[in-house]
């Protein structure tokens, strides 16, 4: 058992080292002319994600060699999960295509199915759902839904599925209603602190030159307006979050918010180098306008893509996690309970179905 994890860890480190050698040390200068950006720092999350996949493959291979089977992985794939996955893939593709093509909003909304499967069935199932969604979206789904760039972002979808699965497994998506005000306040404070902290860090690191709030002569007026707009939206979000938390009195709102924002950040980190290096920063959706705006401000391709991602992805994943939370809340208890991780999404353990006397459960 330990051997598997050590082998996986070793594979992870080796792939990261290879990535660093290939792409360059994290922290050198930018050179947009070359095919591979020499600033490795931009791609560290992508390399990490690729290393994760390799580590998983090694883990599975070692388990197969040891036990002749893949029990720890296969247990996530019972019939119910297999039936849910195509539905999840279809939801991903249809919503994603609608938002990108018809609504042209600067978000994606193509991960609802991935996160749903991750929460209900586990990290591997979620990862596979994400991967299949993106691959099928490019190669197999007919126009008007077909999306050319999607397959390149398969690795992002894999990581999103893993994060959702881990969040579900940790019980963070379990409803926690009717908590006392004190508990809600503490949870709310922590969540707001984390999110605002990340926001401030992101601003000082990436946006300080672009958005000038105080001195409008330094930059285009459009950025002052945009900056204030984003600031207002951010403030509105924090207020809305607090309202939601205290009106619904469900502590899980805080958990969902943090998980959503963090997943969005990680997704942005992984997808930015792919978008920049392969597609020149544009993928045909509403997000391209943001990239254009940031490039107008003088940012190079990699930075502009990342700046766009840092705005779109956390919002997108936050909304997605909330949608999944609402869908889970609407599902009957009985429906959820039969999924591999379903028990961790229930409010409480429920009446213990004790094997009392002659009542017995299925043995096969």
């Amino acid at each position: 058992m330990v051997v598997r994890w050590i082998a996986a860890l070793a594979a992870f480190i080796i792939v990261i080292l290879i990535g660093m050698v290939t792409i360059g040390n994290f922290g050198t200068g930018v050179d947009p002319e070359n095919f591979f950006d020499t600033e490795g720092a931009d791609s560290f999350a992508l390399i990490g994600a690729i290393a994760l996949v390799f580590a998983f493959v090694v883990y599975a291979a070692v388990e197969y060699a040891q036990t002749g089977g893949l029990a720890s992985i296969a247990s996530q794939f019972d019939t119910r999960t297999i039936v849910l996955m195509p539905i999840a893939v279809a939801i991903n593709i249809i919503l994603g295509a609608t938002v990108a093509n018809a609504l042209k909003l600067p978000i994606y909304l193509d991960s609802i199915g991935t996160i749903l499967v991750g929460a209900l069935a586990g990290p591997v199932a979620g990862a596979l759902t994400g991967f299949l969604s993106n691959t099928l979206w490019t190669y197999v789904v007919p126009p008007p839904f077909q999306n050319g760039p999607a397959a390149a972002f398969g690795i992002v979808a894999v990581v999103i599925g893993v994060l959702a699965g881990l969040a579900g497994r940790a019980g963070w998506l379990r409803p926690r209603p009717n908590r006392p005000i004190g508990e809600l306040a503490v949870g709310g404070l922590i969540a707001v602190a984390i999110v605002v902290g990340l926001g401030v860090y992101a601003y000082t690191r990436f946006y300080v030159e672009t958005f000038e709030f105080v001195n409008p002569d330094n930059t285009d007026p459009i950025f002052t307006i945009l900056g204030w707009l984003i600031g207002l939206i951010f403030a509105a979000f924090v207020l809305g979050f607090l309202w939601l938390l205290f009106v619904r009195r469900d502590l899980t709102v805080a958990y969902v918010t943090v998980v959503g924002v963090v997943t969005g950040l990680i997704a942005a980190l992984i997808s930015a180098p792919i978008s920049a290096n392969v597609f020149g920063g544009v993928t045909g959706g509403g997000t391209d306008f943001l990239v254009a705006a940031f490039r107008q401000a003088g940012a190079d391709l990699q930075t502009a893509t990342f700046q766009q991602g840092l705005l779109s992805d956390p919002v997108d994943k936050l909304v997605t996690f909330f949608v999944v939370y609402l869908v889970l809340a609407a599902m009957a208890r009985r429906t959820k309970a039969r999924f591999p991780q379903g028990e961790r999404l229930l409010e409480d353990a429920g009446p213990a179905d004790a094997d009392d006397g002659e009542w017995r459960r299925a043995t096969a």
Partner: protein, 275 residues
Amino acid sequence: MAEGDRLTGSPTEVRGVPDFVGRPGPSAYHRLNPLTKATSATVTAIAAVAIGGLVGPIVLVTLAVIGPALAAGVLGRLVRTALLLALPIAISAFLVNLFFFPGAEQVLLRIGPITATAEGLGFALEILVRILAISGAVTLFYLTTRPADLTVDLERRGVSPRVAFVANASVQTVPAMVERAGQITAAQRARGLDTEGSVWRRVRGVVPIVGPVILGAIAEVEERTMALEARGFTRPGRRTLLWAPPDSSAQALFRWALLLGLVALIAARIAGWPS
């Protein structure tokens, strides 16, 4: 069921697998093994990115996309579909890079605060050609291969039947769900839902449709699970396949050659070739 009746006996005449199962394609390219076509599409797409520049992807597209499309007789459809697919991205990419390329010197055009630059134009053309190459490669695969063919081939080679099931079911679920969304939209419209108009209105219009579609599909999960398990789905291991697309050692060799070529190309580019 009584012995000797038609339920346990043999069919009235000896019939084999009907010919509409796994019907071969109309052209030689169609009849290539699906894995070969998939490898070709993927390698072409990745190579288009790796090669960079303008000439490379154009040559690649001619060889790997336009040539086979001509041979397969799908060139017209390919051009229409690939262009349609690439159009939104292409326009975005072109405009964004043409006008918003920072640090560029040679100005071509100035419209108010934004300027079109020659460097931007060069980069925009590169991205355009690259996107067209990827779009063409992927569309060629899509036009000449049925999804079920690829999953059957993969299953024959050892992929789990459950993964194949998910892939196949996903392909069928997308149009089914779209149809159901259409029905729900019509029903909601009849109850006064406004789906036209401003972006905000359209976004609000999406919610009363998406909710029932998602929840309706999830409600079916229990029934579908029971129906599948009633038909032996829980049996572990491989299952019988009615047919499989033919393969040849020549094609296998070709696939390996493509993959090795791609690796060599990437290695060369990392090392700094050509300039």
